[in-house]
């Protein structure tokens, strides 16, 4: 179940309130889920990994670690749509508390949507005897956020209504791009990306410090 519920909103608010029933409905009615999923062969080069038939290249050690033993990868783009952003803009002006509840709920919803997409991919690949990795996104460890540009272009972001600002922020806000590796011996578990990350000496903004 991707949608939110009064019970979920209750947990965010910290107490039961009558308006949560209508509010969960309003949130669900504002969802315009859209996705784009594509699969490519991987070409491992010295400094980077290329996606065959595209201009997409992955830089950094972390993604290399993540895609170890993989032969292919999926890239996908998922969004909750512009209507949720508008609802948020509106609530921020007239009911900030609801705006906060919405923001938190929307984060949960987009995660569940990504889980659903990931599960579909895993099911498909398992049936072919392959394994898959967890999701990995541009901006994690030393995979540059700039990777977004090419990914969104190749996945047709514009047609889905997903745009990138000059500072690489996706609009609508509740949008996610992600990479899932595929291979007979792909490793699903999480690992210590910080240990291999190129920025691990200079990084003081992140948990890996």
């Amino acid at each position: 179940m991707i949608f939110t519920s009064a019970q979920e909103l209750e947990k965010i608010l910290g107490k039961k309130e009558d308006f949560l029933n209508d509010f969960s409905k309003e949130i669900n009615d504002s969802l315009e889920l859209k996705k784009s999923v594509k699969k490519f062969s991987l070409i491992f080069c010295d400094e980077r990994i290329e996606l065959q038939g595209t201009d997409i290249t992955f830089l950094g050690n972390a993604i290399r670690e993540h895609l170890k033993n993989c032969t292919h990868c999926y890239i996908f783009l998922a969004t909750l749509g512009d209507k949720i952003d508008r609802l948020s803009d509106k609530l921020q002006l007239v009911d900030l508390s609801k705006a906060y509840i919405l923001d938190t709920a929307a984060n949960e919803i987009i995660e569940r949507y990504c889980d659903e997409i990931s599960n579909e991919i895993e099911k498909e690949e398992l049936s072919k005897g392959n394994k898959v990795t967890l999701r990995f996104s541009p901006g994690y460890a030393d995979l540059p956020l700039e990777t977004q540009r090419q990914i969104i272009k190749v996945l047709g972001g514009e047609k889905m209504g997903v745009y990138l600002s000059d500072t690489l922020i996706m609009k609508p806000f509740k949008s996610v791009s992600a990479i899932i590796g595929v291979g007979k011996k792909a490793i699903k578990g999480s690992r210590d990306y910080c240990a291999v990350c190129k920025n691990n000496k200079s990084c003081d903004k992140r948990i890996c410090k």
């Binding site: 997409i56 007239v94 047609k159």
Partner: protein
Amino acid sequence: MNKKINLNDDLILDGAMGTLVMERENPKAGFPPELFNIEKPELILNIHKDYVKAGADCVNTNTFGANSYKLKNYKEVINKGIELALNSGAKYVAFDIGPSGKLFGQDGFDFEECYNCFKDIILAGQDKTDFIYFETFTDLRELRTAIIAAKENSSLPVVVSMSFSENGRTPFGTDADSFVYTALSAGADAVGANCSVGADKMLTIAKKLTELTDKPVFIKANAGMPFIKDGKTVYDTDSETFSKQNAKIKKAGVNAIGGCCGTNPEYIEKIKEETKDIVPEKRKCKKISAVCSSSKTVYIDGDMKIIGERINPTGKKKFKEALISKDYDYAASCGIVQERDGAHILDVNVGLNGIDEKAAMGEVMDRLFRVSELPLQIDSSDEKVIEFALRNYCGKAIVNSVNASDESLNKILPLVKKYNSAVIGLTLDEKGIPESAEGRKKLAEKIINKCQKFGIDKNDIIIDVLTLSEASAKGSAKITIDALKKVKKLKVKTVLGISNISFGMPARENINAAFLDMAKKAGLDFAIINPTLLKIIPTKEAFDFLNAKDGAVQNYIERFSDVKNIAAEEIKTDLKTAIITGQKDLAEKEAGLLSKELSSVQIVEKFIIPALDEVGANYEKGRFFLPQLIASAEAAKSAFSAVEEKSGTSSDKNKRFVLATVKGDIHDIGKNIVKSVTANYGFTVIDLGRDVDYDVVLKAVEDNYPCVLGLSALMTTTVNNMEKTIKLVKAKFDIPVLVGGAVLTKEYAEKIGGIYCSDANDTVKKLKDIFK
């Protein structure tokens, strides 16, 4: 090009370019197919020729993405693309233009930038084709701007086509109705839909378009829905099925059909064959009267429509203060509340001495676009402001207003015609307001005649016969209602501002509600009111007063002069509880009542601050969650505004807190929470908004020095901009800088010279310490 095109003719259009290039050439995913105009011209020429051979009357140039944002050499690509299409032997050539790829609005480009982007494209095309074809647009604001750019820089006809999802709306929320009325009022010559869905689902959209307009309709559907087969994208509908579906589309009244993604010359050949004997059904669309925003159309269908009057500084201290301090969110929130209370249209008036009205109009319109679906009524006495607003407004607006003087008519009506908006005509002229109903009707006739001379459709004329105070001149209400009935017979629409009627009387809303009822029964089309008036049921005394019955004035005043007592009996809970439990409306009412007895300082010190302190303490102890803290802050804010409505702002002008989300960052919910919570503690919060440039922050600090600066950033990429902002500020001013945001840590905040705040409550504590 062998003859001038008639867009009303039955036309077979071509099929896909992009997906066909993929199929034939298999370039890298994401490679712009337009570049093949130069790299492999024979590939493109052959595709055009194949479509012509298949029976297409018209081919689209391979220039969809040729613009300054996507291709450096877009002009060369356009020239070459047009040349190839002209050489294909097609009867007609359409200059194909897609969206820019840049987001329109607050976080992307503005009207002028967007206009120039399309102007450059259109000028590069040099009018060598038969018409311009804007297609696959999803953002109506961008499309409308493109239409205006085309109309002002080319003499070619303009066909416009949007992509609608299965729910009948584009990803930006535009429906077919708003698309058609907006596009046609901006000057489009034909409308259409393409891409996104297959021809089966496209039939619904096509039918809708043919019902909305008698202009030509162009449809290009996808070959069904895409799916991945052996690693390649394929479409699920074959040419046979596709052509049968298109036959239905043509039958529904569509005169121009072709294909979009996934189609190829075989599809076009089949369509041609399948539809050759089909005669499109005759259109049955009625002449209608409607106004719209980019996502909502309001039909003027006989049921009275409410125009919300609250976005207007006249007589509102807080609104004026908000405009002067450039707090445009305040105006936008007035729009949201009126929409909730039942308004159909929002009047926007930001005229105030000493402010840049044009800039304020732009800012307020921009915000309303995000937070309200309602169409707007542009209310200004400055024709430059009206022109600016009409040019920028995405939709079909109402202009408020012209009067019957030649000067006013000659100045404003050309603008109304150019942007095909509706217009309110006031029945007054140089000599003032005619006393009689007949006199007002005569002025209405003058306005209508003049409008028609300018080519303005009668459906777009709205006459206001004017409401005057009944208390000042007995019988005014009757004259207005009489005049209204007379003007109705002229077959134009009617509007009245309601509240003037009760000027000088107690319990004004009661009289207003009674007058509204009378006007509605007389057939009023629009009422300009505060929508909360709709909740009020008028009393008999009010009707008697308006009907000028003997002794009615006295009766009314006796019954209603002590209205304070009526309101007071409703509420008994106290303000502190209302704030702690986060009850906004109750807090506002309570504070309003208290302000009749106590000074604003007393209310703040005795009720609001103790309540907030208790909430803060509960939050720290983990008894309250963040949304509860915010709800209490919002309730306190309502209490403040009730107090301030009477006494002006109650915050301490010496405790200034300048707040901004840093350059490049557009996440601002965190900053807004901080703003809401800190403002309640009496600090004067100057909110600079989001994505704020370094020099804007510097300027604000300079203007408000000494002050505290608060900065928020959510992304790792924009934390660097936070650091830069702090450096620039600290180089000139020795002030504390509070910082916060998801990716910040205490250590990092200190490293870049900031004071770390973990949340809004923490920010209040730090501010209290600083201002001690």
